[in-house]
Symmetry: C2
Subunit: 336 residues, 2 copies
DNA sequence: TATCTCTACGTTACCGGTAACTCAATCCTT
DNA sequence: AAGGATTGAGTTACCGGTAACGTAGAGATA
């Protein structure tokens, strides 16, 4: 039945049906210009031979547009980005597009290499996490002439389009909030691993708020590890041993904050009486706590959905807003 | 500089360099048969024009093999599968392949549709989660003549290759373990949402162990929701209100188990004194607990890595074992 | 000097679809 | 009955690369 390693092409279907491949093509696209008899014969052969069209051919020849969308995210291990990716893929799928994944923050220059590879496949558009790109990356994007959405950190003058939130501002707001709570000796624990440098922007905002309020950032710790539960656990230990007078600590994300709370429980440090803890991102892990974690709410899924929507609009020739701010919301929990 | 919406092709590079496109092609592939002078002229034009090869053309013409790998996972919202996906993408990337993502378990028949779409792009191989496929899906895979790896649930006679663990056995072992701990009235809480039906297999195994031990499964609850923290929280509440005499509950995964423990804390139900709790999958969320959760350890990342390795071997013409069992390990925690 | 080989190219054909064009037979119109 | 429109096709060219083959000129060899 099936010839060795050779896929059935439209010509073979056409030949089997006794028509030219152009006629077969017309039948399959229901373009008209064929008789009912011919239609049935062609479709019968399609089924019998198990014919599947080769999208490579149509896209390559320029007759159809590609439906690939390249999506680069820093890290699947980071829960934050899997939510974003889920939002993206859901939306893209429902509009008949395919997500070509790239994890690009394991090594420097990885993004550039990935962009080059994926562009060679003629994608219809690109979604990139973060706003830092090499010059050559920008040149490649320029030449590609396809819509590009940068997500996560807001960029008032993006390469093309942008969806995210102002991480600096969210850090600043958290700083202001902690100051209004009466804290004067604040700490920060994060990692140097953050992909899009968004966490660094949050820290800068936090710093600025403290400077504006003339309090002091006693200690900031940047661990060389992934921003997870354990990093928070050991991070708080390390911070407190170096700066035991710290009154409140802002963490890179909720996972780390919850790790820190776990440490406090074991060490009988009362939260928030002895030490305040604030997280960022409103991750599911925080639901585990018997009280509400003070954190910053961000709608990750929505970032992905909006990014996809903008891209699809532009692919369809419509225009889309350059910058979309999804914002953030301070959750006044019970941990500060 | 850049012509409207038209990408630079090899012919244009060749023309600019004053050679035929064949010669330019030879230079780019470093195939030999050109002078140093010609090489320099061609490469200079490549840089100047920002030429990027069109992989669609070479793969389409059959001169090169595709480097796409289609990967279907049920749900990115389920942490378990993001770990598997991470393992897959890391390995594939490092061997120059691209992951084309598909989330296929939101609606029935979604997988079949996805397979058809992705096959049209001539992927080099496929990784599918789960072992249940429609007849037409199998027919499509048959015609495609590319390697396929089914992951997650073990299948002694897979379509092509298979990596995973025996979910039935893992449920059985958990059941046996709980019986040896002296429990006689056991419960189960899961969801009907489980993608690959692997959770159903675990429940069957659990059931069998209980039957073999002549204890009784008092109540099993299948919620119509995602298997997360909240589902566990409300699931245990519902189960206990219907069967308060239950002594121990096995959950579909750790997230649900931790949610249940949270409920117990609030209700002043002592774990494990008043109620035993067992999870499955050893997810990071369990690290939040001040004691070790009784659960089943599974190396998710490794499943993805092995699946990719087998696929890559077969793509390179080597043979690979049909079935790989990554196994599981009971973690005897402090919650039963 | 005639032939032979090697170098550095150029030419043609092909992959699998579709657009654009062509064309014969039939039907309709006045 | 002649001319025009419609129907149901077939033919050719093209997309961007590469394999396979062809070839002119230079240098080596007999």
């Amino acid at each position: 039945m099936s010839n060795k390693n050779k896929k059935i092409s439209l010509s073979e279907v056409a030949e089997a049906a006794g028509v030219s491949k152009m006629t077969a093509s017309r039948v399959l696209r229901n373009e008209g210009g064929f008789s009912e008899q011919t239609r049935e014969r062609v479709l019968a052969e399609v089924t019998r031979l198990g014919y599947l069209p080769n999208r490579l051919a149509t896209v390559f020849s320029g007759d159809q547009k590609s439906t690939f969308i390249g999506v680069s995210i820093p890290d699947l291990g980071n829960e934050v980005f899997t939510h974003v990716l889920e939002g993206i893929d859901r939306k893209l799928c429902s509009f008949g597009h395919q997500t070509v994944l790239g994890m690009t923050q394991r090594a420097a220059g990885e993004e550039e290499k990935w962009i080059e590879t994926v562009l060679a496949w003629q994608p219809a558009g690109l979604i990139l996490t973060g706003r830092a790109h090499t010059n050559r990356s920008l040149q490649l994007l320029e030449n590609a002439k396809i819509p590009v959405v940068e997500i996560w950190d807001l960029n008032s003058s993006p390469f093309d389009m942008c969806v995210g939130l102002n991480h600096f501002d969210s850090g600043y707001q958290m700083g202001r909030y902690l100051l209004t709570k009466g804290y004067t000796r604040l700490g920060y624990v994060g990692t140097s691993h953050d992909a899009a440098n968004a966490a660094a922007a949050r820290l800068n905002g936090f710093d600025r708020a403290i400077a504006d309020g003339s309090a002091s950032l006693k200690k900031q710790l940047l661990l060389k590890d992934v921003p997870g539960f354990y990093t928070g656990y050991y991070g708080i230990e390390q911070l407190l041993s170096g700066a035991p007078e710290t009154e409140v600590v802002f963490f890179q994300n909720d996972n780390m904050a919850v790790g820190a709370i776990h440490f406090c429980e074991i060490q009988k440090i009362s939260v928030p009486k002895d030490l305040g803890i604030a997280g960022w991102g409103e991750l599911p892990i925080a639901s585990v706590l018997p009280y509400r974690l003070t954190t910053m709410q961000v709608n990750h899924l929505r970032i992905g959905q909006i990014a996809s929507e903008k891209l699809l609009m532009r692919i369809n020739g419509d225009s889309a807003r350059k910058v979309t701010d999804v914002g953030f919301r301070l959750i006044e929990g019970e941990t500060v």
